[in-house]
Symmetry: C2
């Protein structure tokens, strides 16, 4: 007989498989709560009637894996959907030792046994959410003629951003691990691919122990050609996010509400846009937040957090594009307007930055000058070559799958990854 | 005016953008072949009528990027679709220096300027093919309730397979780069996720210079629970591949035929299956190939290649599953039957191995014993823990996106990646 997912169970003869989530083995009856990836089902055994099954149940431990066949019948006293399975056969697939962790064990202990921790409903939902989120974003982009690429993670030189890179022993030389696909996304523009995206790991050698940092996470990056300004990039992003969130809400909105108590709100498009200086002016006016002048070229951590309230109060919205940062605070490859204002933005969701995006500088001479101003010379020379032999105007942005997951569910980064990696965490 | 893709061009006032692929600048007329990601269009300028455009054309070089507006009209003398664009405005986006490579430059020189090499129609098609292939496989799996995961690339210990791993300086200690997500795919089974897949980079520190080897490539891996035998795994794979190839044929079959001269053949399901010893018997009988007894437990390179002919002659098929390898030649985590025969297979396409798949051993004690027999002790201990606390029976396989691309198009691995990485190749 074919196995049936618990979510699809209806009365009749059925075969189900899953983990023993709960087990009450009484004198005459045994009650098993069987959990598969789709739901939970009560298995009810009259022990006298099936002594050979009763003998099997005596060997079971919590979290053992079994396959059960029998008749599914309605029973109004059963909590789980008002049905139960009356088994006629039972196969033990795997017997579990006593579990070393509980749902409320310390997070670092749970991480040691992540595969057990991941069995919790919340964590399985977390991974289903990531699946839907990523699939929806890819679908959106494929509908718009984007090509998927896989850029190399081995690079010859420590790359652009401020964060530290990991060094790899590469035969008789050294390589580094890419901390962003930025340069290669742009290489794809010079290659005439026009519209590309990538999902892949990015590596950051930062010794940070915050709730937001990991040494390895999953980036979702895209880049596209023939933009006429940064507005095109913001528009692509807001459309992408609204599309993705509608899919997430449809697939998991109720479950997220039930298990995490948070609402998935599909954002209205366009998202609000504000210049950085206007953000500071409003924060001061509304909440008395005064930012020291010397750091006003960038968004401070405090201000970032406070934009959550600001967004809500000014626009009734969860997202905000912040533009017009100081060129000193932005990457050399952001295009600047005639006044030197970078044509880029940060996108903030629920008070947390989720994207930096921009129109890029595609003119070789201008780009070279901007790199030199930032003191970047030889290390980016290979990258500057991309712009010498013809390159369309282009822009793009990147999102972190893990960070989006955190914000959807109100988790720490450790909980929002399949398996967290940090400065002190390389196992399991 | 909105830009139109060249493939969508019809007569009327249009705006197009692209690279100058060809340029004939005559006394009274100028002819530009403009190429975008979707096609090519002739731009025909009467210089006397538009002297300011003629002046712009004089500055153009091959591979410069321009945006052109004007009227698209029918002209039966024009080769490219019988239409041409008569420009009324032209914007130069980027002027190209003289190109350092040609289409027939040596492959390693072309690799130095990969972004220029990628502009060729063949290479753009190669990346579109990869996009369709990967999207189709994900679509197939999402329809079957698979969850997408992102396993860590940083691992604490050099992992299972024979190939060498790369060492990373990881703060005050060392880490290694995963050469396969195998252990973590199985961790997901112990986590009760039931069905998972992953697309991501895998790293192999092999100093090989063959047409098939790279130090970094893109793996497409999946694993699923509650299999009743290796047949379930093979069946999943043949269905997946047939689905993918039908999508590839529909999207790119004609273009692949035109640009590469190769046919995309959607394979009939089920694929042929043969035991390894029967393959050797047939190779001997049909082609006089005698394999030395001491290597008959595995498929030799010669035999692998010859299966292309064998498949064709015996089954009129391009694919073949080969089963019943010697346990000595297979990974310790393959389940074995009561006679010690590994419950795994290789899948060969056009005489080249594209997959190793298997039902896995999920019983802790058996698995531990098999690991110890292979001399694997402490390094796999963290992995053995996954099976102590309940784990469903499961199986899975992995494919290489790059290798599939090679075989689709008859390319070397260097040409089948966005940007190749090998022992001597870390740039651009």
């Amino acid at each position: 007989m074919e196995r049936t997912y618990i979510k699809d169970i209806t009365p009749g003869i059925r075969r189900v498989s899953g983990f023993v989530e709960n087990l009450r083995n009484k004198r005459t009856m045994a009650f098993i709560v069987l959990k598969d990836i789709t739901g939970k089902l009560q298995v009810t055994l009259e022990k006298e009637k099936y002594p050979e099954l009763a003998a099997i149940v005596d060997t079971l431990t919590l979290n053992s894996v079994i396959t059960v066949e029998g008749e599914v019948v309605a029973n109004e006293y059963v909590k789980m959907g008002g049905i139960e399975l009356l088994p006629t056969s039972m196969t033990v697939e795997s017997i579990a030792e006593a579990l070393p962790i509980k749902a409320d064990s310390d997070i670092d202990v749970r991480m040691d046994y992540r595969w057990i921790d991941l069995r919790r409903d919340q964590n399985q939902l977390m991974l289903k959410l990531q699946t839907t989120m990523t699939a929806a974003m890819r679908e959106f982009l494929l509908q718009r003629d984007f090509v998927e690429i896989h850029t190399p993670k081995f690079i010859a030189a420590a790359s652009e951003s401020g964060s530290e890179v990991f060094e790899v022993k590469y035969f008789d030389t050294k390589a580094y691990l890419a901390q962003s696909p930025q340069f290669y996304k742009q290489m794809a523009m010079a290659a005439g691919l026009e519209r590309i995206f990538e999902t892949g790991p990015v590596f950051r050698a930062e010794k940070s122990y915050t709730n937001k940092h990991a040494t390895e996470f999953t980036g979702f990056d895209l880049e596209f050609s023939y933009v006429t300004g940064v507005e095109d990039v913001m528009h692509m992003e807001e459309e992408l996010i609204a599309y993705m969130m509608a899919k997430v809400k449809a697939a998991h909105g109720d479950a997220i509400k039930a298990l995490f108590g948070t609402e998935v709100i599909v954002p209205a498009v366009p998202f609000p846009r504000m210049k950085l200086k206007d953000v500071y002016a409003e924060l001061e006016k509304r909440y008395g937040y005064t930012c020291p002048d010397e750091v006003k070229g960038d968004l401070t951590t405090d201000a970032e957090r406070m934009t959550k309230q600001l967004c809500q109060d000014m626009f009734g919205h969860e997202f905000i594009f912040i533009t017009d940062y100081d060129a000193k605070e932005r990457a050399f490859y952001h295009m600047r307007d005639e006044n030197g204002v970078p044509q880029g933005y940060d996108l903030i969701w629920r008070g947390c930055e989720i994207t930096t995006g921009a129109q890029r500088e595609h003119r070789y001479e201008v780009l070279k000058k901007q790199a030199e101003e930032k003191g970047l010379g030889k290390d980016v020379d290979f990258y500057l070559q991309f712009f010498k032999y013809g390159c369309p105007p282009h822009g793009g942005f990147g999102l972190g799958i893990d960070r989006l997951t955190m914000l959807f569910l109100g988790m720490s980064i450790k909980e929002a990854q399949f398996l967290f990696r940090g400065p002190n965490r390389l196992t399991p």
